[in-house]
C-alpha cells in the first residue's frame, strides 16, 4: 500500500446512524484521501446527506468509527474509552470543515461580504479589515466582485450559492462538504456553480460532494460512491461506477438519471 503513510482526510468504518427504529446508515465504509474529490450519488433517502452531515457532526453517529484528518468526529480517545467532545471542541473541529447546503442558507440580514466575513471574525477572531479584504478576493474568485454589498434576496440562486461557497472558503477549511449544491438551482445557473467547484478541485481542495450532476462526477471526481438504503452499493473510479456499473441497483439508477 503506497498510501499507508498518508492519513485519509475522511475515514469511515462501519458508520451507523439510526433515528429510533429507522436505520438511515447501515455500516458505511469509505475513505477520502487528501486533495481528492469524492462524489456520493444515489436515490433520495439513501443516506447520502445524512452521512455528509455526520462528517461535521451536525448529526451524531450511532455506531462505528468516523475520523477527519486522523481525529475522531465528536469524540476523543482516552485509553480504551471514547469521551464525547465539549461543545467548544466540536465547534473548533467544524471550523476546519466547510459546508455548502442545498438551500444555500445564507444569512439574509447580512450582505454578501458580511456573510463571508462572519465566520473568520466571530469564530477565529481574525482582524476585521484583513478578513474583509480576503472576503472581497473570495467573492471575486467566485465571480461576484460586483455583488459585494448585495443582500441575499437581491441575488439569484446561483449567485447565492457562490456566496455560500465563498463563505465556507473564508474559514480556510481543509475539507469541503457539498450537500446537493445545485439541486435548488434553475438549470441555466447550475453551470456557474459547478465551474467554481471544478476550480476548487483543481486547486487541490479535498471535497465530498452529494450530487445528481453525473457530468460533474465523471469529470471532476476521483471516486464515486453509489449509495442505496443507507449502505454503499458500489464504489470506485467514475469510469468504473458510472461507465461500467456492476450491480443491478446501480444500473437501474443510472439508467434513470443519465
Amino acid at each position: 500500500m503506497s498510501r499507508s503513510f498518508t492519513v485519509p482526510m475522511v475515514l469511515a468504518r462501519n458508520v451507523r446512524k439510526s433515528y429510533g427504529a429507522f436505520e438511515a446508515l447501515r455500516g458505511i465504509d469509505l475513505e477520502v484521501g487528501p486533495g481528492q474529490v469524492m462524489c456520493l450519488i444515489g436515490p433520495s433517502g439513501s443516506g447520502k446527506s445524512t452521512f455528509l452531515r455526520c462528517i461535521n457532526h451536525l448529526e451524531k453517529i450511532s455506531a462505528g468509527l468516523l475520523a477527519v484528518d486522523g481525529d475522531l468526529v465528536g469524540y476523543r480517545r482516552g485509553g480504551d474509552r471514547l469521551y464525547e467532545l465539549r461543545d467548544r471542541e466540536v465547534c473548533a473541529k467544524r471550523a476546519e470543515i466547510g459546508m455548502v447546503f442545498q438551500r444555500f442558507n445564507l444569512f439574509p440580514h447580512m450582505t454578501a461580504v458580511q456573510n463571508v466575513c462572519l465566520g473568520p471574525v466571530t469564530v477565529k477572531g481574525d482582524d476585521k479589515a484583513a478578513v474583509r479584504e480576503r472576503a472581497i478576493a473570495l467573492l471575486d474568485r467566485v465571480g461576484l466582485s460586483d455583488k459585494v454589498d448585495s443582500y441575499p434576496t437581491q441575488l439569484s440562486g446561483g449567485q447565492q450559492q457562490r456566496v455560500a461557497i465563498a463563505r465556507a472558503l473564508a474559514m480556510q477549511p481543509k475539507l469541503m462538504l457539498f450537500d446537493e449544491p445545485t439541486s435548488a438551482l434553475d438549470p441555466e445557473l447550475v453551470g456557474d456553480v459547478l465551474d467554481v467547484m471544478k476550480g476548487l478541485a483543481n486547486d487541490g481542495m479535498t471535497m465530498v460532494v452529494v450530487t445528481h450532476e453525473m457530468g460533474f462526477a465523471r469529470e471532476v471526481a476521483d471516486s464515486v460512491v453509489f449509495m442505496d438504503a443507507g449502505a454503499v452499493v458500489e464504489s470506485g473510479t467514475p469510469e468504473q461506477v458510472l461507465g461500467n456499473p456492476q450491480h443491478e441497483r446501480t444500473k437501474a439508477f443510472l439508467a434513470k438519471v443519465l
Binding site: 461535521n56 465547534c91 473541529k93 467544524r94 445564507l106 444569512f107 440580514h109 465566520g119 434576496t153 463563505r167
Partner: protein, 313 residues
C-alpha cells in the same frame, strides 16, 4: 365594432350609499365638535359653565404635578419594558431548552404571571414585606451574609417596576419564542457549520432574524405598557393618572383632568407609533428586496403622483 366601443364615453358605477354614509359621519362629527368646543352646561346648583372646561385643561396641562407624573410614567414604561424584554429573552431561551427542568421552570413562570391580573400582582409586590420581611444573601438553609429590610427596600416605585416588568416578561417570552421559532433551521445549521457556538449563533444569526417577527408585537407591548403603568396609581406611585387624581380630588374637576392625562397618553403613544414604524423598518433589512418607504418618502411620492397622475408611484 371594437373601434366604435372604444370611442364611447364610460359611466362609472354610482355609489349613493357612500354619500349617505359620509353625510351621517359628517353630521356626527359636527355634533361632536360642537359639544366639545362650543357648548355649555348648567349644573344642578344653577352654575353655568363650559361643557369640557378647556380653560381648566389648559391650566393643568403643564402643571408641575402632571409633568412630574408624566416623567414617572415614562420611567416606569422604559424600566418595566427593559426588565420585561430581558426576562422574555431569557425565558424564551429556557423554554426552548432540551433540559425539562429549565423549560418547566419557564413554563411555570409564564403560566403564573400570565394567569393572574397585573393589578393583583402590583398589590402583591407592594405588600411583599408581609411575607418576606427581610431578604438575605447567603448559603441556602445556611448562614446569611447580607440582609435588607423589604419594607424599606421595596418602595411603591420599586414594586411597580418589578410587578410590571415580571408580568411583561411572561408576555415577551411568548413573543420572543415565536420569533425564534420563525427562523429557518437551516440558518442555525449554517452557523454551526462555520464553527459558531450556540450563544454566537443565537446572538448573531437567530435573534437578529427573529427581531423581524418580534418587533411588531413588542411595539404593541410598549404602547400597552405606557397605559398599564396607570395601575401603579393603585399602589400610590405618583405617575400621570395619579397626578390627575390628586388634583381632581381637590378641585372636583374630574373630567378635565382625566382629559389632561389622556392627552398626554395620546401624545406619547403617537410618538411611540412613529418610532415603532422605523424600528420595524430597520429589522426588515434583508428580508425585502427594497426597503418600505418612510412616511416622508410616501408623502413625496403622493405629491409627485398628484402632479402627474399617470406616473408610477
Amino acid at each position: 365594432m371594437n373601434d366604435e366601443r372604444a370611442a364611447l364615453p364610460t359611466v362609472p358605477v354610482r355609489h349613493p350609499g357612500r354619500w349617505v354614509g359620509a353625510l351621517v359621519v359628517l353630521v356626527l362629527a359636527v355634533m361632536a365638535g360642537h359639544s366639545l368646543f362650543f357648548s355649555d352646561v348648567t349644573t344642578a346648583t344653577g352654575l353655568h359653565r363650559e361643557r369640557f372646561e378647556w380653560s381648566v385643561i389648559n391650566e393643568y396641562f403643564t402643571s408641575d404635578i402632571i409633568l412630574r407624573g408624566l416623567v414617572v410614567t415614562l420611567q416606569l414604561t422604559v424600566l418595566a419594558m427593559v426588565l420585561g424584554v430581558v426576562l422574555g429573552i431569557v425565558m424564551a431561551v429556557l423554554r426552548l431548552s432540551p433540559n425539562p427542568l429549565m423549560s418547566g421552570a419557564s413554563w411555570l413562570y409564564i403560566w403564573f404571571f400570565r394567569g393572574t391580573p397585573v393589578y393583583v400582582q402590583l398589590l402583591f409586590w407592594y405588600s411583599i414585606s408581609y411575607v418576606f420581611p427581610t431578604l438575605s444573601l447567603g448559603i441556602p438553609f445556611g448562614p446569611e451574609f447580607f440582609t435588607v429590610n423589604m419594607n424599606t427596600a421595596v418602595t411603591p416605585y420599586v414594586a411597580a417596576v418589578v410587578g410590571l416588568g415580571l408580568n411583561e416578561g411572561a408576555y415577551m417570552a411568548e413573543i420572543v419564542r415565536a420569533g425564534i421559532l420563525s427562523v429557518d433551521e437551516g440558518q442555525t445549521e449554517a452557523a454551526q457549520a462555520l464553527g459558531m457556538s450556540r450563544l454566537q449563533t443565537m446572538r448573531r444569526i437567530v435573534l437578529p432574524q427573529a427581531m423581524r417577527v418580534i418587533a411588531p408585537p413588542t411595539g404593541n407591548e410598549v404602547i400597552s405598557m405606557l397605559k398599564t403603568t396607570s395601575l401603579a396609581a393603585a399602589i400610590t406611585v405618583g405617575e400621570l393618572t395619579n397626578g390627575a387624581k390628586i388634583i381632581y380630588s381637590r378641585t372636583y374637576e374630574v373630567i378635565p383632568l382625566l382629559m389632561v392625562a389622556s392627552f398626554w397618553y395620546l401624545i406619547v403613544s403617537s410618538v411611540l407609533t412613529v418610532g415603532q414604524y422605523y424600528v420595524e423598518r430597520y429589522f426588515a433589512k434583508g428580508a425585502l428586496r427594497e426597503m418600505p418607504p418612510t412616511p416622508a418618502q410616501k408623502l413625496r411620492a403622493k405629491f409627485v403622483g398628484l402632479r402627474n397622475p399617470g406616473g408610477v408611484r
